[in-house]
């Protein structure tokens, strides 16, 4: 212990991995928040994220620059989310059904294009360290939160988004096009979920691999609900979920009194916590009033 530096101590290591693991959740959850507060359910977050993770790995690989990877991930995320927006806003497809389809599409398209580009469908080539992010996305997540919290409180755009999800008729009466706001929010959620994916493939690991999001999109959605659809509590929920993830990783294979620690029970804590909060056992988590309802001008 004496020879260790402070940054090698267990608590600091745990805190560091908490922030690392929380970063993709924060990006994705902020995306989910934008879309849901504007009134569009987003269970496609998982798919957006997967597309972003793949695009980032391809971009970083091609341009040998992680920033290009992130840029392309954001763009692909926006494009993919726009497809979702066309279906749910323009064509009034059921948002849960279309969201499920988008997740299928991402799960199918990523290995499909991976095979075409790299001749293997399982993963992209390993990125050298120089082409990966260090801690930029981890800081970036919190800068994004600050931006979003400001947007929320102090700008009319934030107000419009909230009205699009609560009282779309009122927003329409004020002369703002509801569906345009919703469209922009869904596209923005695609950008952010894309960046979340980029954080996974170009920062936390060194390549894209098949279904690497592993439910993180749904966990981000859980964080939005756990955080009661508000930016700061949602980010704190991501931090909590990141902490639980860091703890369970550390306890994998650890034996206490001859018995392995059942890490699966730590893994499911975020979902249990979300169910409890949603059921109103600890404060009430209320969804935006018009969430999931298509808007049509009367």
């Amino acid at each position: 212990m004496d020879e260790q530096n402070w940054y090698q101590s267990a608590p600091f290591q745990l805190a560091a991995s908490t922030f690392r693991l929380a970063a993709p959740l924060v990006f994705a959850a902020m995306g989910g928040l934008l879309s849901e507060r504007a009134g569009v359910i987003n269970i496609a977050l998982e798919g957006f994220m997967l597309m972003g993770a793949f695009a980032a790995a391809v971009g970083a690989n091609h341009f040998a620059d992680p920033w290009m990877g992130a840029l392309i991930a954001g763009g692909v995320g926006a494009a993919f989310a726009s497809i979702y927006a066309v279906f749910v806003i323009q064509y009034r497809a059921n948002q849960i059904v279309a969201g499920t389809a988008m997740n299928f599409l991402a799960a199918g398209l990523t290995p499909f294009f991976c095979k075409i580009l790299f001749d293997v469908s399982g993963s992209t080539p390993t990125l050298p360290i120089a082409v990966r992010f260090g801690s930029e996305p981890i800081w970036g997540a919190w800068i994004l939160l600050a931006l979003l919290a400001w947007l929320w409180r102090s700008t009319s755009v934030g107000l419009w988004i909230r009205f699009a999800g609560e009282h779309p008729q009122a927003l329409d009466a004020a002369g703002i096009q509801v569906n345009r706001i919703r469209w922009a929010s869904v596209a923005a959620s695609g950008v952010l979920a894309g960046l979340a994916g980029a954080t996974l493939s170009v920062c936390l690991s060194s390549s894209f691999s098949r279904s690497m999001t592993a439910g993180r999109g749904f966990m981000a959605l859980a964080a939005v609900i756990f955080g009661k659809w508000r930016p700061v509590p949602t980010a704190l929920a991501c931090l909590l979920f990141g902490f639980l993830d860091a703890v369970q990783m550390r306890l994998q294979g650890v034996q206490i009194g001859g018995v392995g620690v059942p890490v699966q029970f730590i893994q499911i804590l975020p979902y249990i916590a979300t169910v409890i909060v949603l059921a109103g056992f600890i404060g009430k988590s209320r969804a935006p009033r018009s969430l999931g309802l298509p808007f049509e001008k009367v």
Partner: protein, 357 residues
Amino acid sequence: MNKSDRSWLGRALESLQPILAVLLGLAVGLAFTRFAGESPLHVLKVLYQSAFGSSYDLGMTLFHTTPLIFTGLSVAIAFHAGLFNIGAEGQLIWGALAAAVVGHAFPHLPGVIAPWIAVSAAVIAGAIWGAIPGWLRARRGSHEVINTIMFNFIAAGITSWLVIEPLRNPDTQNPETAPIGEAFLLAPFRVFDDAPVGPAFLLALVAAFLLWLFLNRTSLGYELRAVGQNEHAARTAGIDIARIRIFAMAVAGGLAGLVAVGEVLGNAGRFKVGFSPDYGFMGVAVALLARNHPIGILFAAFLFGALHKGAMDLDLETENVTRDLALVLQACVILSVSAEGAWHWLRRVGSAGKKRG
């Protein structure tokens, strides 16, 4: 617009809509294979051969159709009660584990009753896992969509721990339970050359028919649909909405639990972690395509089963396209069918025909 306003042409076009949508979705999905330098027609041929080319292939298609019928029915009954069950995945996992545990724990039961015991265990386990989100919705007002998603992850976590720790098969490194007793195994039909399709498939057909009867010919089924169609009117009519909702979710869970029959009793003879390739989410698509009609679900499940099985030979039969294409095709079909607003022109064509006639 009421029914008499519509011409026969309008009605015919409208009933064509799902078929047109499926064809369009498949065409768009297949067009993607151009990116991989393959001919979409060749890919289609491979898909067809692999899904229906031999009696074994057809059997495998039916094997994958069976769980999709159950999950499709599961989503449909919840939908008729105004609920969205995207928790069939978690419910079927519990059903399969329950069947495997019972089948291993009582190996000496006589063969006449053994499968029935396992089936009951699967239904009960699935029903409980479905009823909890139903209860949460009915009594606590929390949305079943979120809860059923969460319950999928919770089910996956708990069952994988159970299988790795207390229920582990000591003879293998794989995360699976010990094999069930001989008496529980359901023999496959001979006509399909060893494809594991057997009584489970018949059970799925029966379940679809029974669900249709229930929804259309019983007063409880009528009440259930009343809750789904107009909650307010149902309440005024004195229907206990909370009770109906919990009931619908329990039945939905029980139906999803029946996936165990084909998988555990008819195929693997044990519970394997991760055996389901997302049958639960595919059930959402199947139910949508069939517009939640129990008999329509048989056909929709067959289509999705055929796509799933058909894509399996793509790895070998094409240069660059892998079985992942099944997901792309399924997604394109779902999007195409779900885009209600995109099919308005069909209705316009229909009413134009009326004017001319």
